[in-house]
């Protein structure tokens, strides 16, 4: 492998990994707080991408800069996330983990098929938001939007980390998974915190949609399910419920995927899943997770 190919793949892997990391953050936050795999999370990306698809031409038509539609996508995704939580997840929260899992799966199917009915099953092409040239770094032509995407990812993750560590609601988000009853006693409105978690997770999914569309400008109704699954793998790999773990896992899965694709294009998905299985069997708590023993 030449150095330029290696470097190119490294940048591609980081780009892919940043997307996975942002999605994985949404999974890990929700899982940390209510112990539920939010299968519908992948479909929030799809909603974000469709919002971009419809609003970018509108913005350009109205003479406004195209990046305003990103904010629209964030707002719409957050709204959908909160709606899904309030309408479907809240009523089954007490019914046990199996019901929650089934409901999440059903919501994912619902969003995917609703999108198919509304927008059709054909892929749509999203207009470019950033029209940036390439730069030459170490003899490799790097499109600037890839760099920008990685940059946005890093900024989002850092911002989230600051938000979680220092704001009041962020602290509440960390407190609820640790001890739900104690946090109620401390005056935390658990339902509000959960809704807030969904809003933030879905907003991150909208940003992930932006990054995805900058790289692959195609929107389909089922784009979210497999990407969501891989992001979930990333979250598990890093240690589910641990926010830095999601970032680490996302970047790792992205890099692994891109490098495996170089050598065995048909097999890269299988390799990603095989890694997940290995991780779950050897260290189910993930790379950064703590091992929690089971009480009898």
């Amino acid at each position: 492998m030449t150095f330029s190919l290696f470097f190119q793949s490294l940048i591609n892997g980081l780009n892919q990994g940043a997307i996975y990391a942002l999605i994985a953050l949404g999974y890990t936050m929700v899982y940390g707080i209510i112990r539920m795999i939010n299968f519908a999370h992948g479909d929030f990306i799809m909603i974000g991408a469709y919002t971009l698809f419809y609003t970018i031409p509108m913005m350009i038509h109205a003479g406004m800069p195209a990046w305003i539609s990103v904010f629209l996508a964030v707002v719409i995704c957050a709204a959908v996330g909160v709606l899904v939580e309030v309408i479907a997840y809240k009523p089954v929260r007490r019914a046990g983990s199996m019901s929650a899992l089934i409901t999440a799966l059903a919501m994912s199917l619902f969003l995917e098929n609703l999108a198919m009915v509304l927008f059709g099953a054909k892929p749509h092409n999203v207009q470019k938001i950033f029209d940036l040239p390439s730069v030459n770094v170490l003899g490799v032509a790097l499109p600037l939007n890839v760099i920008l995407t990685i940059g946005i990812g890093v900024v989002m993750m850092a911002g989230l980390q600051i938000f979680i560590k220092s704001t009041k609601i962020g602290k509440a988000m960390r407190a609820v998974p640790q001890d739900r009853d104690a946090s109620i006693l401390a005056g935390i409105n658990v339902n509000k915190v959960i809704t807030m978690t969904f809003a933030i997770g879905s907003a991150l999914a909208a940003v992930a949609a932006l990054m995805y569309c900058a790289k692959y400008p195609r929107v389909t109704n089922d784009m979210g399910s497999m990407m969501g699954l891989k992001a979930f793998i990333a979250a598990v790999l890093g240690g589910i419920g641990v926010i830095p773990g999601a970032m680490l896992g996302g970047i790792l899965v992205g890099l692994i995927e891109i490098y495996v694709k170089l050598f065995a294009p048909g097999w890269y998905e299988a390799i990603t899943y095989a890694i997940l299985i290995m991780i779950l069997l050897v260290k189910p708590s993930g790379i950064l997770g703590k091992n929690v023993g089971e009480k009898v």
Binding site: L101, I102, A106, M107, F110, N113, V236, A274, I277
Partner: protein, 338 residues
């Protein structure tokens, strides 16, 4: 064999026979006019869907674990049986023998895959097991997309059409009966004990892993048989048919029918697989409707429409004759109605 068992088996056999002859009567007299062939096809679809859904119910209902990769086992069965039947055609075997051998091969291949997947996967429970089953199903799909024997990602066509409704019906009856007997047997009761409290079960000397893997294997075996019937009905297939969506579809049929109720699986699968065929123009709304029903079922009746309730012909007879006997307790699964 006790008398009440004999009576029960006899009654149920009569019931299945009555349903079968009802279908024969309807189809042979062209009761639906020109669309008879079409309805026969839909009924065959319903037959193999029932086998797949009931086998998934063994894992979801009986074992209480969540498998989201059942389509993987179905595809193993489908491809294995198609390869076997392609290899054996023209060797002078009668069609029915060829079909049965192919199905058995499909079932055994899927069962072996079930052992291979089950031993590592069943160390996990709940959410993680669900994710691992998806992962295994996807690996199987990628494998079939890359192997030349399964068409290498292209459509595998030219499988001989061996599934007709009458054979599929009896295969389904046999499969359902065996699965029902498994649930009712010592093994089934053990697995249910593990479902209720695996720590207590293992403290009582039950080998938890063994029984879980066994149930998983049985479920995979029957999924493979269902896949075999599918392959010989469709005559062409592509690995992407057996994606995550297909697993999700099977799972929603199990849950809407009733978690742990084989009656629910039969009625749910038959109804849900034939309904969209009858209303083709609404077919794109099918999964939308499934998902809405699924959410509503979870909110209002978390056990599924039939819950754990089973239909019993003996109970119906008792109700009709007004007799209350001791047969209630050991009633046996009945109907294979489509």
């Amino acid at each position: 064999m006790e008398k009440r068992f004999k009576v029960s088996y006899f009654l149920n056999f009569l019931g299945v026979l009555a349903v079968f002859f009802l279908f024969v009567l309807l189809f042979e007299n062209n009761a639906f006019g020109r669309s008879t062939q079409y309805i026969k096809g839909i009924s065959t679809t319903a037959c193999y869907t029932i086998i797949m859904v009931a086998s998934l119910n063994l894992v979801v209902g009986c074992m209480g674990e969540f498998s989201l990769g059942h389509a993987g086992f179905v595809s193993v069965g489908a491809y294995a049986s198609a390869i076997v039947s392609n290899g054996l055609t023209g060797k002078g075997l009668p069609d029915i023998a060829l079909f049965l051998v192919a199905l058995l091969a499909g079932g055994i291949a899927a069962g072996l895959t079930g052992v291979l997947v089950g031993i590592p996967a069943l160390r996990l429970r709940g959410d993680y097991l669900a994710i691992v089953t998806i992962a295994f199903a996807e690996i199987i799909r990628v494998l079939f997309c890359n192997l030349s024997i399964t068409g290498g990602g292209k459509t595998m066509s030219g499988i001989i059409k061996l599934s007709n409704f009458y054979w599929s019906f009896w295969i389904m009856v046999v499969c359902i009966t065996v699965m029902y007997m498994y649930v009712r047997s010592r093994f089934g009761r053990t697995v249910k004990a593990i479902r209720e409290d695996y720590i207590a079960a293992s403290a009582s000397g039950i080998n938890v892993t063994y029984y879980k893997v066994l149930t998983f294997t049985v479920a995979a075996f029957f999924a493979g048989i269902g896949g075999g019937v599918y392959a010989h009905y469709m005559t062409a297939m592509i690995p992407t048919n057996f994606n995550f969506m297909y697993s999700a579809e099977l799972l929603s049929e199990v849950i809407i029918g009733g978690i742990g109720s084989i009656t629910g699986s039969i009625i749910g699968a038959a109804f849900l697989s034939s309904l969209p065929e009858m209303m083709r123009q609404f077919s794109q709304y099918r999964m939308l409707a499934y998902s809405v029903v699924l959410v509503l079922v979870m909110i209002f009746k978390p056990g599924g429409i039939f819950g754990a309730w089973e239909f019993s012909l003996i109970r119906v007879c008792e109700r009709l004759t007004g007799r209350k006997g001791g047969w209630e307790k050991n009633r046996k699964k009945t109907e294979g109605g489509v």
